[in-house]
Symmetry: C2
Subunit: 285 residues, 2 copies
């Protein structure tokens, strides 16, 4: 069996650092293709390019990926152009641009830089000390999975514009899901349990998708509509253990027509495995 995420983020090397991909219709949400899913494709292209030769070969995991969103991608053919900027030592850094040809003209969708390394080589020397100091961010307390709201149970009208929901097994914590029934908490928080619908295990590349998988936190402010991301940076801090992850999205500063959205992801052992921040435009509605 091939999992949806693997099938739809597969890349094909065509030489000179270019990787072809097909953006699946299943990852569409509103007028575009989900940004996290696109980061998964970029992650696969980067990993493939770094895997071609020593000394970058051992740098298989994303540590930090920063992405500027230039235009909305559409389902269909796309490609990632990669260029290694640094190799050797513990990390490689690569430039990766996701492009779609529109009427024969290459249109960049996402410009990114990615720093990759080996998450199996993390240095745990000071972990116990940091834990004792309280410098390890803890997951929020959520209602049990079975009491949370299955996001893919959204009304058919909504799902028609968001086939993306069927890819995910997202279970939203009721306290931060009341916007779905017209009673947003207005705390600026959306959190819940997350897995892929077909139970594809989450790994470091998939975490690049997880940090952009929940609805924008502006839904919880009572502002539905698309909140276009200007920039998103994701840091992967550890390999996730098997099972559900907990995801929290939060904004703390809504100003000037923009807002920042911080996301944290904890694995089933309670370990922080990824964090991201995006700067996005407030929805127009």
């Amino acid at each position: 069996m091939t999992f949806e995420f693997d099938r739809d983020t597969a890349v094909r090397p065509v030489g000179n650092g270019r990787y072809d991909a097909d953006l699946g219709t299943g990852w569409v949400v509103g007028g575009g293709v989900n940004g996290g899913y696109l980061l998964g494709i970029i992650g696969n292209a980067v990993r493939a390019e770094l895997g071609l030769q020593a000394p970058t070969k051992g740098h298989v995991d994303p540590f930090s990926v920063s992405a500027h969103f230039l235009s909305a991608a559409v389902a269909g053919p796309a490609y990632v152009e990669t260029r290694v900027l640094r190799s050797g030592g513990r990390f490689s850094t690569i430039e990766a641009t996701l492009v779609q040809d529109v009427a024969g003209v290459p249109v960049p969708r996402i410009a990114s830089h990615a720093t990759f390394g080996d998450l199996d080589a993390l240095d745990a020397t000071r972990d116990a000390e940091a834990e004792q100091l309280g410098l390890v961010l803890k997951a929020p307390e959520l209602a049990p999975v079975e009491d949370c709201l299955l996001a893919s149970d959204a009304p058919p009208d909504f799902k028609k514009i968001a086939p993306l929901l069927d890819r995910f097994g997202t279970r939203l914590d009721p306290a931060s899901a009341l916007w779905a029934v017209g009673q947003p908490s207005r705390q600026g928080v959306i959190q819940g349990w997350f897995k892929l619908a077909d139970d594809r295990p989450l790994d470091p590349i998939a975490l690049l998708m997880v940090v952009d998988a929940l609805p924008p936190v502006t839904f919880d402010l009572g502002w539905p509509g698309w909140a276009p991301t200007l920039e998103l940076t994701a840091h992967v801090r550890a390999k996730p253990a098997p099972g559900w992850v907990i995801v929290r999205h939060r904004t703390r500063t809504v100003a000037g027509g923009l807002f920042e959205e911080d996301c944290e992801v904890w694995d089933s052992t309670g370990r922080l495995v990824a964090q991201s921040r995006q700067l996005a435009l407030q929805p127009r509605s």
Copy 2:
């Protein structure tokens, strides 16, 4: 009078999107040149390149700059290579790489993407509502400026390796400066008042420097030494009002040999004007 920051971040166009610069010896700290200062140079090159023609000409302010640090820069000649990736609409995005030639070989120091726009065109429609919801991050309470510790009063031995300190008028809040006398609070917080030593007013480009101007938060954990940045993303949220700014650095997750450091900057009116996050390596010492 020319201010130090303007003199030392000046760039000279040499065509094809390239801008020459000189990295000043005054901005050296430890074995390298301060990253925030280098972001100021990158910011000036980006602004100059965008200013060359419509439609990017009005995009004079950084909204989001993400930077991957590839190798340690040294004082001396450097250049920024720029390439516009998106123009038109409300924002321009540009790729900008800071390079130094070493024995005739170009060595990239920082790979960045910058999204610029016009901070005078922010949409304040929902600002009052967000304020009412408490979704505007507030500055910490600090001791008055005169009761804070002037960082440039550090011992001569320390200053010899950190001429950078003389560029700044940083006044550290006593509660987060006790590491200087061997009693780190171990809260993972360093905060204080900030201005440039020669009172050069802070503007959006200078804020790119401010987010990396305080000592690394690991000093407050009792871990002196250089904490190499892998990646730093800065978001400028508003133009700062004249006067001192308040800067807070904080880490919340120290793990696996790395830590993230969040920085927020508030202007003299209490408005959040910039925020950044960097992923850095723990010092070796």
